[in-house]
Amino acid sequence: MPNVNLFCFLASYLVAFSLDVARLRAQSAWSRWIAILFGAAGLLAQTLYLLLRSSLTHQPPLLSSAHDWLLVLAWLAVLTHLFVSLLDSTIASGLVVWPVVLLLVGASHFVTASTSPELDFHHEWKMLHASMLMLGTAAILFGFILSLLYLWQHRRLKHRQMLTSGLTLPSLERLERFNRWSILVSVPLLTFGVASGIGLSVMGKPDAAPTWTDPVVLGGSVMWLLMCGLFAWLLSGQRTPGRQVAWLTAWSCGFLLFMMVGLQVLTEVIQMPSLHGRDVTRRVPGNEPAPPAVR
């Protein structure tokens, strides 16, 4: 397995972002392909990194640690961005996607990379719980990115600004449609995730730490409630100007992501006990120490 660390793909993504920024000044065919190439190289490095960690922890990345969880979220965003860029290399989505990805990868450095020994129990249910929450959060992440693209396009059109030749943004109508879908999709996924989490805590070991006071669980519940509210509002049929919808989703999705990532970082920095962050299980015979991080 190659010697891959966090810096490898962080640097690749940073170069891809810089090249995308440079495209705002002057457009050239080679720079956009080099940006895609750097993005793809970063994605490959990140994939290898996640695989390496998975093999060391003997856990899938979704279950191993908050560190891996954030990296999988970033990995999904990069994968989607590269796919869209290959379909339409003129699209300027990188200017919004890369900063979000860089923040996620950066934040992953500050959260725990240790795995919880509790993972041996109800493995399938925990996998379902983590996958649903991950996909729901990814949908929120896409909603956030789409809202930012919408606001950028809206501002550009209001101010009659032209993008650099060879750069495009999707139409407002398309962005609004995709944004709406991302919110509508996120809620059922989060609901499954939260429901399976409740089920797990009910079935949990008697000596485990209490789940309900876990800050990440609390944050996740608030996120779910907020998204349910947004979901109901979108389905209410009330016609609202697209810009207002975009602002609302940008703020709510941005706040939720900030809260989710922020809580993960916070539990690590101030050493707050959390089942989803630091190891809070009581030391019982048979509990092995977590494997070392590969960072």
């Binding site: 009659r160 032209m162 030749s165 139409s171 109508e173 009330q238 609202t240 100007p241 697209g242 810009r243």
Partner: protein
């Protein structure tokens, strides 16, 4: 063969003259080709006639370009029944490589009224096709026009000469409306007034798939006419507010002396459709919509000034690409002229080789008749040897001819070879 291009274009000649020299119909064009064949029986010709230019390209055997130019001008005068002295001063003529450069510049749209406009390529192709149909093309014209088409392809793909829209209507639809709406098939278009620019905008909107068009005009007759033309429907002026509320795309060009729609009226008209995006294109001068309308959420108001700035920027961007396009033309011109000169000497080369190999064959036949005991294998060996001797003897003069052809048609050398080896006969 030599090349001559005789042309009058929008840059050199007033429309009043161009329209009298134009070849407007297919029948007229067929008659013109028939007359050209009669007058220039050994020549190849192509006539390019558009609203911006009348051009004649002639590949002719003579060396006197000036005489051919006069004959072509005479042809134009007699064919169109326009006295020569009324237009001869407006005509421009290019010969040889300059004629080729002119065609390459024309098809690359460097000579067009709107720099980089794409229609000229299809117009040149159509002219070439018509010449072929009328039996006016030959090897040189084929080569010239095929090279020209290749040049236009290179200019379009390797430069940004055709990038960015340069008319108000195309910028409005292509650069702005299409960035607001994804699909136009389900959008309602409201046309207020019936100006020319509204029609141009409608053409672009139709291309995007618009189906529902409503025309409102103070004159019901004019509204009816425009609606009929664009498969829409006319509505009375009194229903303006109703349709302002329903429309997704609004194009206004009334010619009113003061704005007909202010922010309050527009807000009220769209009260029932709040939250729906509206694209308003105000082509009126003075404007038909108050600028405050643009302050409403999800209303995108564009007037001529705001779009003209984009058109001007795009025009400047295209101008910056002229040098790159010229570079491609120069590159392709060099290739074409090298091929052209090689063709000019190619005739002499083939005849010289034909003569020498003919003589050697005659002598070999005579030898084989005298020496019947020679086996087939011996004969073949002798034939190969003689062929090699002929080729080796011809190699130095032909190499010299090829080398000289790179700089231009080596008329002196060709004449010398013709006279030395009596190739005329």
């Amino acid at each position: 063969m030599n090349l001559l291009a005789l042309h009058c274009t929008h840059q050199t000649t007033p429309l009043a003259i161009r329209e009298r020299l134009a070849f407007a119909s297919r029948e007229q064009l067929a008659r013109a080709y028939s007359e050209l064949r009669r007058r220039f029986s050994e020549s190849e010709a192509v006539i390019l006639s558009t609203c911006n230019r009348v051009e004649l390209y002639l590949a002719h055997p003579g060396d006197d370009a000036e005489q051919t130019r006069q004959q072509l001008a005479q042809f134009l005068s007699e064919f169109h029944d326009v006295p020569l002295d009324e237009f001869v001063g407006e005509l421009r003529a290019d010969s040889g490589s300059e004629a080729v450069w002119h065609l390459f510049a024309v098809i690359s749209s460097l000579d067009s009224m709107v720099l980089g406009e794409p229609q000229i390529v299809s117009q040149v192709k159509e002219a070439y096709r018509a010449a072929e149909e009328n039996g006016a093309c030959g090897p040189l014209v084929h080569s010239l026009f095929q090279s020209a088409i290749r040049v236009s392809g290179r200019v379009r793909s390797e430069t940004k000469l055709a990038e960015g829209r340069v008319s108000v209507a195309s910028v409005a639809v292509g650069d702005f409306a299409k960035k607001i709406f994804d699909n136009f098939a389900d959008k309602l278009v409201l046309i207020i007034g019936a100006g020319e620019m509204a029609e141009e905008t409608l053409r672009y909107l139709k291309d995007e798939g618009v189906r529902e068009i409503v025309v409102i005009n103070r004159s019901p007759e004019r509204a009816e006419r425009l609606a009929r033309e664009w498969s829409g429907r006319a509505e009375p002026w009194s229903d303006l507010d109703l349709w302002l509320g329903r429309a997704d795309v609004i194009v206004s060009t009334t010619g009113a002396e003061r704005p007909i729609v202010n922010a309050a009226r527009f807000r009220q008209a769209r009260a029932k459709s709040a939250g729906r995006t509206a694209f308003v294109l105000d082509l009126g001068a003075p404007r038909d919509f108050e600028p405050a309308v643009d302050k409403l959420d999800d209303v995108f108001l564009y007037d001529i000034d705001s779009l003209s700035r984009t058109c001007e920027d795009n025009r400047h961007a295209r101008v910056r690409e002229i040098e790159a396009a010229r570079q491609i033309i120069a590159d392709e011109l060099a290739k074409f002229m090298a091929e052209f000169h090689r063709r000019a000497s190619g005739d002499v080369v083939s005849r010289l080789m034909q003569d020498w190999h003919g003589v050697s064959k005659e002598e070999l036949d005579r030898l084989f008749a005298k020496q019947p005991h020679l086996t087939a294998r011996d004969r073949e060996a002798i034939e190969r040897t003689v062929e090699r001797i002929v080729n080796k003897l011809l190699h130095p003069p032909l190499e010299t001819l090829k080398h000289e052809s790179r700089e231009g048609t080596p008329h002196g050398l060709i004449d010398a070879l013709k006279r030395l080896f009596r190739l005329e006969g």
